[in-house]
Amino acid sequence: MTELRTHAAEIAEQFSDHVDVTEDEVETKLEQLIEEYQVPLDEAKRSVRNSYLEAAGLERDEISQGGSDEVLVNEIDQDEQWVDLRVKLVDLWDPRSDSIAQVGLLGDESGTIKFVAFKTSDLEELDEGKCYELSNVVTDEYQGTYSVKLNRTTTITEIDEEIEVGDNSETVEGALVDVQSGSGLIKRCPEENCTRVLQNGRCAEHGEVDGEFDLRIKAVLDDGHEVQDVIFNREATEELTGIELEEAKQLAKDALDTTVVADEMRADILGRYFTVTGPTLGRYVLANEFEQHDGPADAESVLIKARSI
């Protein structure tokens, strides 16, 4: 792509939702202004943008802006924002769709985020383990989890610099005040790459399937100021409750009811205090590490504070 073509693509992308516009058309207009009329590039872009704004009857702030902000991946908390990233390509996954050129995980010191590059964007391939400056990527949100999409206006600059990748980890503590539905002995869809939890034997994607048993706890920690959702996976659930998958299956079998497992677990953990550390996934903290408190931390300092009032 020539430089002019990149700018044309960026403008075309901005307006593609609003008016019928092609990169060729934008490029021709830019070329005319720059070469024929000797208009500087910035002014030419501005002029072309304004002509499309007028054609579409839009205000400037209704379209995505060309200049985007550099952010850390962990700071991304809005859908459809145009941002710049300085990241390392941590992991490449196998694309599940023919329209996807590359999919994987990008990371910076704040954590990691999924990225997708589509074939139609015609971008250079990224290499695993290398670091890049990516400008003009768009954020995307699905069920509280954020990702970024590369697009044809994205510029990719490899940088000769090692970026340390953080693990998005957060530590939360509080009393465990609720064990939510979908906890205990659950069944997951056995289809490849589908781990959805079944509702009444049905997967939202694959319909009625013969599910595979798993253990999980979705709980709420509350410290009196705020609440935090946490998830214990099978391993953590077994460690937390001392109830292993086989035992849980037996419990359910004996009772002819899977909910007895969650009830049993509730009795073990509700009302106790925990510290939980792990990566954030949407609104959840995944409990990679956890600890049950064994008493108050510092009664003395609180008493001193009380007496000083």
Binding site: V177, D178, H293, A306
Partner: protein, 229 residues
């Protein structure tokens, strides 16, 4: 945030409040006209409570229902007694109250409920979402945490813009110094705990408090169970 929608209906924080302060509260309010809008109990130290979390010693359980089971539990902290009521709509909590043998340490998550007695007094109790048996360490941690949260509220009471403190001043008066004493009372009870603390607590605090609360207790009996259900 795109989560703002879910956050606007997000789960209410469970306030930490000692029984002495909780039982002094009587004023409830809503912040919107919506039928399903949460009802808040106004705490005297200036905070709204739609949910509470407390840990104490269950000293007594009784089925006070007439046609249906309706369980009342007395749960004692170092400063007073919480009353919890659980009936057919709180089956888990009701069965816990049915099965537990007092005295026992329990943790309760629940919603404050108020009702007016025949002579016009407002009594406050808790409708439990869950009751679980816990250990002494958990109870001690709750006492310290609740002391700390209460001091935070007292600290913030005179802050400009603390709307719940202004509301509390209007409803209950502006002297919150007694709740500093409550905090000290709570914390000092930990220092004096003997090894045999469960029995000590149940007999000591439970005894005194039941005297002090005898009136409301009787009234609660008389008024049960309809105002609660």
């Amino acid at each position: 945030m795109s989560e703002s929608e879910s956050e606007s209906v997000s789960r209410e924080v469970a306030q930490r409040v000692f029984a002495a302060e909780f039982n002094d509260a009587s004023y409830t309010f809503k912040e919107s006209d919506d039928d399903r809008a949460p009802v808040y109990l106004l705490l005297p130290t200036g905070q709204r409570a739609n949910r509470v979390f407390f840990v104490g010693t269950l000293t007594e359980t009784e089925d006070v229902g007439e046609d249906n089971e309706y369980w009342r539990g007395r749960i004692v902290d170092p400063t007073g007694t919480f009353f919890v009521y659980a009936g057919q709509y709180q089956p888990d909590a009701a069965s816990t109250l049915r099965e537990l043998e007092p005295p026992a340490y329990v943790a309760v998550v629940g919603k404050p409920r108020t009702y007016e007695t025949d002579d016009g007094e407002i009594n406050v109790s808790v409708r439990p979402e869950s009751i679980t048996e816990v250990d002494a360490a958990t109870r001690d941690q709750w006492v310290v945490e609740t002391a700390d949260r209460t001091l935070d509220r007292i600290d913030d009471f005179d802050e400009a813009g603390n709307e719940y403190a202004r509301m509390a001043t209007e409803q209950y008066g502006d002297d919150v110094s007694q709740y500093t004493d409550t905090v000290i009372q709570g914390l000092e009870s930990l220092e004096s705990d003997s090894t045999d603390e469960l029995d000590g607590d149940a007999a000591g605090d439970g005894g005194t408090v039941s005297d002090a609360d005898a009136d409301s207790d009787d009234v609660a009996d008389a008024a049960d169970p309809s105002p609660q259900a």
